[in-house]
Amino acid sequence: MPAVQLNNLVKTYNKGTVKAVSDVSLSVEKGEIFGLIGPDGAGKTSIFRMLTTLLLPDSGVAWVDGFEIVKDYRQIRNTVGYMPGKFSLYQDLTVEENLNFFATVFGTTVKENYDLIKDIYIQIEKFKTRRAGKLSGGMKQKLALCCALIHKPTVLFLDEPTTGVDPVSRKEFWEMLKRLKEQQITILVSTPYMDEATMCDRIALIQTGKILSIDTPENIIRNYPDELYEVKSENMYKLLKSLEGYDQILNCYAFGEFAHASFKTPSEADAKRYLHERGIQNVVLRRTVPTIEDCFIKFLKN
């Protein structure tokens, strides 16, 4: 029995004019790290709020840990851990006080489940008498995670835990999540950062309330339909503009240092010749492996 199961969930706002979640179905296995990957407005927060029983769906059913989200909301509320988006804890309570508070709210003590949060708490322990409001973004995250874990939930919902935090703290956060897997806690995470998708066991790509794909990151990449090339020259903008005019071009867009391009009938030699004719110097053009972001863009363009 999957830890979390959604069947055809629908959620609208504003008397049905805003379709936040359209017919979403997915299942999450116990102990998985499952990522909900999509930009703002995709419906991630709405889905999480329905699963944590804070919102009622318009239609469809879902179960968390075997409990139905509408009827059995009390049981779900007793057992899950939840970290809402942009969660800031109690700013004027200290680290210790916040942790103690959340432990008590769930009818346990910090001592009881300390080994669960030990690895994370150690990093902020020396600030334990500091007020939460005076912590850095990365430290607040760690504290919030501890507070969500302290009662040893069976399922953990983390809504955009890394948004607005610098790349270094983001990396560290995901490392902490991976170590939690060993505790057999099912973790659902939502994020707009595509590069974090590879840290998950399975992911669902979501945009404007609809699921684009559900699979392991590797499979999604493997299923990318075109041959993808990375192209580089001295001026990205000129390069892109030229590629756009190429009659063989299927898709091209910037991708950091390189541009990524796919062609109708790929021919490295032909492409290079075309660019050279356009005055683009020092072209580097070679096959590359797509990333989740490439897959997402491909879905969006369809």
Binding site: G38, P39, D40, G41, A42, L135, S136, G137, G138, M139, T163, G164, V165, D166, P167, V168, S169, K171, P192, M194, Q207, T208, M236, Y237, L240, Y253, A254, F255, G256, E257, E293, F296, I297, L300, K301
Partner: protein, 245 residues
């Protein structure tokens, strides 16, 4: 080549705390300059000084030729600004927003009329021009926001994490706008947490604990650190940071 931003040992102190420590940098006209750093590193403080919103404690700086101590009003009139937190008024229509901000920047009625029509056409928003901004998808809002920020043809535009939370396609469309504007001679000063966007810049600087710890083109930085990606460069520099926000 014109220097649009020139700073020399620009510093901002709050009591004992040095938020920005002797920032020295130059930004040339038409450059896309990436301003990176962890939260709490001092990016916002520095940007506020450059925008004329905060008086430095010491050091000098000129923005678009205007002195940051004595000519802040002239600076404000010659720059554009866009951030995630502040952009457009949700309860006004697209056209109303354009007219409002254009008016604030001192555009004449005729200029306003011409520019707003051109802008709406370029963004493909003709059908939406009388719709409330709140009804637009986030990506369109961002693009509109940027265009409004440069409506008055400023010398330089400051962008504070403009693409946070936006889908990958829209992000790239946004950067297309930035490229086009840079081609026309606009200087772009942008902060971001997306390391791939760092690659789109001509040069970038990375702030750690209030100081500029690196300033060069992405290619040179990677070469000097012997690393493959901007991600790794950033990680290397920011990892040892003592400060958070």
């Amino acid at each position: 080549m014109n220097t649009v931003i020139q700073t020399d040992k620009l510093t901002k102190r709050f009591g004992d705390f040095i938020a920005a420590n002797e920032i020295t940098l130059q930004v040339h006209q038409g450059e896309i300059f990436g301003f990176l750093g962890a939260n709490g590193a001092g990016k916002t403080t520095t940007m506020r000084m450059l925008c004329g919103l905060s008086t430095p404690t010491s050091g000098t700086a000129t923005i678009a030729g205007f002195d940051v101590y004595r000519e802040t009003e002239k600076i404000k009139r010659n720059i554009g600004y866009m951030s995630q937190k502040f952009s457009l008024y949700d309860d006004l229509t697209v056209m109303e927003n354009i007219r409002f901000f254009g008016g604030i920047y001192g555009l004449s009625d005729q200029e306003l009329k011409d520019k707003s029509q051109a802008l709406v056409k370029r963004l493909g928003l003709e059908k939406e021009s009388n719709k409330l901004v709140s009804s637009l998808p986030l990506g369109w809002k961002q693009k509109l926001s940027f265009s409004v920020a440069i409506l008055h043809d400023p010398a330089i535009v400051f962008l504070d994490e403009p693409t946070g939370g936006v889908d990958p396609l829209t992000r790239r469309q946004f950067w297309n706008l930035i490229y086009e504007a840079a081609e026309r001679g606009l200087t772009v000063f942008v902060t971001t947490h997306y390391m791939d966007e760092a690659e789109y810049c001509n040069r970038i600087s990375i702030m750690v604990d209030g100081k500029v710890e690196a300033l060069d083109s992405p290619a040179n930085l990677k070469k000097n650190f012997g690393l493959n990606s901007m991600d790794d460069v950033f990680y290397q520099l920011a990892r040892g940071a003592k400060r958070g926000d």
